[in-house]
């Protein structure tokens, strides 16, 4: 118990030791004696006035005493019945108080049961949530691992793509070089062919007569076919060279 509470109790008892207990006995006795004296006085007055009417000294005295005792007994009975009545009232009060406390106990018990049920439900819900949380945490971990692997794969793919792009650009660059070289060769070849053609025509003009003569003898076929072949070949190369040049430029 708290010290301040002990202090109050101790001081109240100390107060009663000083103020109440030394006087209680004597004051109570005095009060009882005064009450008894008053009652006796009153009864005696009543009895004396009645006994005077009856007459006879000795008989009257005995009757007076008996009547006094009777009245005192009646008074005591009244007081006792009052005490019984008071005690009954207290009993009823105590019973009512008991019922009140019992009803409170029962109400609290009911509340405790309801709270216990609520607590159990909450515990079950909590464990369900814990299980769900655990599952979700595992799923999250798996998804994170998967995400990490995918990130790595993506990074690898990006790297590969970059590499391929570099390679493709290099290839294209080389292809363009090759094409350009080829075109250059073609141009050179055409120029040479042209020069050769010119040269051939000049030679042909110089040798025109003998050739015409010989053509009569059926040998003109051969030179015509050679010139034609060179011309055709030049045309073919010319066409292909143009086509390749355009596509190479377009691709680059």
């Amino acid at each position: 118990m708290a010290s301040w509470k002990n202090h109050v109790r101790a001081r109240l008892q100390q107060r009663d030791q000083t103020e109440k207990l030394p006087y209680l006995g004597v004051f109570t006795s005095l009060s009882q004696l005064e009450e008894r004296f008053e009652i006796r006085q009153q009864f005696l007055d009543d009895v004396q006035s009645k006994s005077l009417e009856i007459g006879g000294f000795e008989v009257g005295r005995n009757i007076r005493l008996l009547q006094l005792q009777l009245r005192e007994s009646e008074h005591l009975e009244e007081k006792l019945s009052q005490t019984v009545s008071d005690l009954t009232t207290v009993l009823y009060l105590k019973e009512a108080e008991l019922q009140h406390w019992q009803s409170r106990v029962s109400r609290y018990r009911q509340e405790a049961l309801t709270l216990a049920k609520g607590s159990n439900t909450l515990k079950a819900t909590l464990s369900e949530f814990e299980f769900t949380a655990e599952c979700q945490s595992k799923e999250l971990a798996a998804l994170r691992a998967e995400q990490k692997a995918l990130h790595e794969a993506l990074a690898q793919a990006l790297r590969e793509k970059e590499e391929l792009l570099q390679r493709w650009l290099q290839e294209k660059s080389e292809e363009a070089d090759r094409l350009n070289k080829h075109n250059e060769i073609q141009q050179r070849w055409q120029r040479l062919a042209k020069e050769l053609k010119k040269h051939f025509h000049r030679e042909m003009r110089k040798e025109c007569v003998p050739i015409v003569t010989s053509s009569w003898s059926g040998e003109t076929e051969a030179p015509t076919s050679v010139i034609q072949r060179i011309k055709n070949t030049t045309d073919i190369h010319q066409g292909r060279s143009d086509h390749n040049h355009v596509s190479a430029v377009a691709e680059v």
Binding site: M1, S3, W4, K5, H7, V8, R9, R11, L12, Q13, Q14, R15, D16, T18, E19, K20, Y23, L24, F27, T28, L30, S31, D86, T89, V90, L93, K94, A96, E97
Partner: protein
Amino acid sequence: MADDKDVLRDVWFGRIPTCFTLNQDEVTEREAEPYYLLLPRVSYLTLVTDKVKKHFHKVMRAEDVEEMWFEYEGTPLKWHNPIGLLFDFHASNSVLPWSITVHFKNFPDRDLLHCPSNSVIEAHFMSGIKEADALKHKSQVVNDMQKKDHKQLWMGLQNDKFDQFWAINRKLMEYPTEEGGFRYIPFRIYQTTSDRPFIQKLFRPVSPEGSVHTLCDLLKEMYPVALPSDGEPKRYQVVIHGIEPLLETPLQWLSEHLSHPDNFLHICVLPVPSD
């Protein structure tokens, strides 16, 4: 809790041995013997002095008898204050039994209220209870009570029936657990050094921060002079029901256990006796 109930019993059954003496100026047919009575601390003078009146009426002529009133060492005793408070305030350091002078003449109208019958005491007592409940529960508890409950409180006091009184009074002492106490503590501080009858203000049992207020906190706010200063001898006694509770006693507990039946905590601040 059993110990707390013992405190309630000790408070209820506190008694003061008293010797009533008839004032010498009263006209009597023969010499009046003093009358001795153990007065309940929690009751009212005019409620428990029927026997005193009857005792002195025996020696007086009916025509010389007016309204009875009491005086201690020249000071008229206010019957509307509980007996214990009157004793602590006027005579706590005097010799026992407490010597009260009884008067039947020259009623001091300026100092005392008239008390022609017990119904006046009942009305005063019930108004105290209602005022206290207005402070404690915004009057909700006392208004929810039935007329018979009010009557039971009064009859419990009148007939000195502790169980009868507390069967109802406990309802007035309940409070919501989460609030930690009453709304306000019904208290009155009586001081000898002022003409002011008492100090009564609003004071909560718990601070806004949630700490419990003590008797010290109350005095610090209402009457700081009553608190002892560091290094100085104690100048004042703080007395409730004839005892000095420790200043660290929680005010809520004091209100529940050391209140008078009118539900007020009557606190006396008295100068420390010099001898």
